[in-house]
């Protein structure tokens, strides 16, 4: 682990997420940290896990690199530092929906005192027979799909099959001639221009003040999950499961009454360039950005809203706007973080663009051996987000059960309002009365 430090440049999506990380830090919070949590029915083999972490740093030195700025450009500089498995005993057992959750939140709310914190950490939170395995990382290092690949790496019998590969965004950009890039750039600019026209309702009326991160988890039973999947297919077709969740959220927020009521809703969501089940690339962000938008009037008509979102998505793909964002992100690298952030977040009116941070992690599977021989009984996710909107919804499915993880800022998001919103979301997803 004493190799010479190497500089690994950010790809365009890494810089995109770095800019948002800086925005979060500028608002007085730790930064763009994300968490992927597995609920394990027993203890994994700690020695084996530590060996695998050591192997990770050798195989992928970026895993323990530090952020480095050279002129206008940003890099990861490898350090060879070890990533130690950090073990904790859950101390808040009473009344927790998920044992160990409070300890996970304490970890997330720790201020980053160290100037060069590790970009990736692994925690074990013991809760009795089992516990929570928390992978905690800083967003410019990798995206959530990469988080799943990393967990697969840690418990794989064949870690050698996980290899680093070039940025998928870089590969796409390299396929295009200069005039194609320019054409896509203007397409994306028009796409953005449309997105910033509609003033977005927000889940908080506050824009500043000291905040902590909190989490509410809603897990649906297998029967409920089957019902949600059937309703998603009925309303948005096989192709629109993600849109069903987004549409239900827009309606839930509209029915709960948005704390900052404006003209409509704008929910950006990621389009991942990775192929499903691919073991590579592990690190880096390989995402583009799409927008789901609707006026408040459109949101009030359930059937019409889903048809609108599906047509909007279809139009986006037909016009190749999904990939058009890539040249925009490529050019964004030349902007300072503050200038780029303004373009990413601000509407024409000066308001905040995103009504919510949203990500659909998709359906995840661990094989019968579970995680290092231990059954994975559940999972949830968490992340810091910009303020506003102060609310992030991450959704995923495991063992036939959908889990919605609501990360939110306290006290910016009113908890009584959030409870009402979650009840409305249940009713929307399951098509029942709240």
């Amino acid at each position: 682990m004493n190799a010479e430090p190497a500089l690994i440049p950010f790809n365009p999506a890494d810089y995109f997420t770095y800019v948002l990380h800086e925005e979060i830090r500028n608002a007085g919070m730790p930064g763009g940290y994300c968490g992927f949590v597995l609920e394990l029915a027993g203890e994994p083999d700690f020695n084996r896990l530590q060996q695998r972490l050591d192997q990770l740093v050798v195989q992928f030195p970026i895993a323990s690199a530090k952020l480095e700025r050279r002129g206008k450009r940003f890099f990861w500089m490898t350090t060879g530092r070890r990533i130690m498995l950090e073990r904790h005993q859950s101390s808040h057992n009473e009344g927790e929906a998920i044992l160990g959750l409070q300890t996970a939140m304490d970890i997330f709310n720790q201020p980053t005192l160290n100037l060069d914190p590790l970009p990736l950490r692994l925690h074990w939170i013991a809760t009795g027979n089992g516990g929570l395995l928390l992978l905690n990382w800083i967003h410019p290092l990798l995206d959530a799909r990469g988080g799943k690949i990393l967990l697969d790496y840690l418990c794989s019998d064949r870690p050698d099959k996980f290899k680093e590969s070039p940025s998928l965004i870089g590969e796409k950009l390299a396929q295009w001639r200069w005039w194609q890039k320019v054409r896509f750039f203007f397409k994306a600019k028009r796409h953005n221009h449309e997105a910033i026209r509609l003033d977005s309702c927000l889940p908080t009326a506050m824009e500043q003040g000291s905040q902590s991160l909190r989490l509410r988890i809603r897990r649906y039973s297998k029967d409920e999950t089957l019902r949600i999947s059937a309703l998603a297919q009925q309303h948005t077709g096989l192709a629109g499961k993600t849109l069903y969740s987004i549409g239900c959220f827009m309606r839930a927020m509209e029915l709960a009454g948005p704390p900052a009521a404006k003209a409509g809703y704008c929910i950006p969501y990621a389009f991942n360039l990775r192929r499903q089940n691919a073991p590579t690339p592990v690190f880096g962000n390989h995402v583009s950005c799409l927008f789901a938008r609707a006026t408040r009037e459109q949101t009030r008509q359930r059937q019409g809203l889903f048809a609108h979102l599906l047509a909007q998505y279809r139009q986006t793909l037909q016009n190749e706007l999904d990939i058009a964002y890539l040249p925009l992100m490529w050019l964004g690298q030349s902007l300072s973080p503050s200038r780029y952030a303004k373009l990413l977040r601000k509407q024409r009116s000066g308001g905040e663009l995103s009504s919510l941070w949203f990500s659909d992690i998709g359906e995840l599977r661990w094989n019968e051996a579970g995680f290092m021989g231990t059954r994975v009984s559940g999972m949830f996710h968490l992340c810091w987000m910009t303020f506003p909107p102060g609310l992030a919804l991450l959704t995923g499915q495991l063992n036939g059960q959908i889990t919605l993880s609501y990360s939110y800022l306290h006290p910016a998001v009113d908890e009584a309002w959030l409870e009402g919103l979650i009840a409305r979301m249940d009713a929307e997803l399951l098509e029942t009365n709240p």
Partner: protein, 79 residues
């Protein structure tokens, strides 16, 4: 047609260690084809084969395998 579909699916949407061994009747949904991928696949097919695939026909039976996809596209109206 099937080879074009196979190439697009395995180079853009799903990772498979040996895509040439993936049978024409094998289950694409089981292999990891998700909702976003289905939409991209439909857009690719409409453009590549100059057809219109109606929203109302987007259902598991039409996208479950390469055979099913080919049959669906062959029966679809020309764009």
């Amino acid at each position: 047609m099937k080879e074009k579909l196979r190439h697009f699916i395995f180079s853009e949407l799903i990772f498979h260690e040996a895509p040439e061994t993936f049978g024409d009747a094998d289950d694409l949904l089981e292999a990891g084809l998700d909702s976003m991928g289905i939409m991209r696949l439909i857009m690719f097919a409409e453009k590549e084969f100059s057809v219109t695939l109606p929203d109302t026909e987007i259902e598991p039976n039409n996208v479950r395998s390469l055979n099913a996809l080919e049959q669906w596209i062959q029966l679809a109206p020309r764009a």
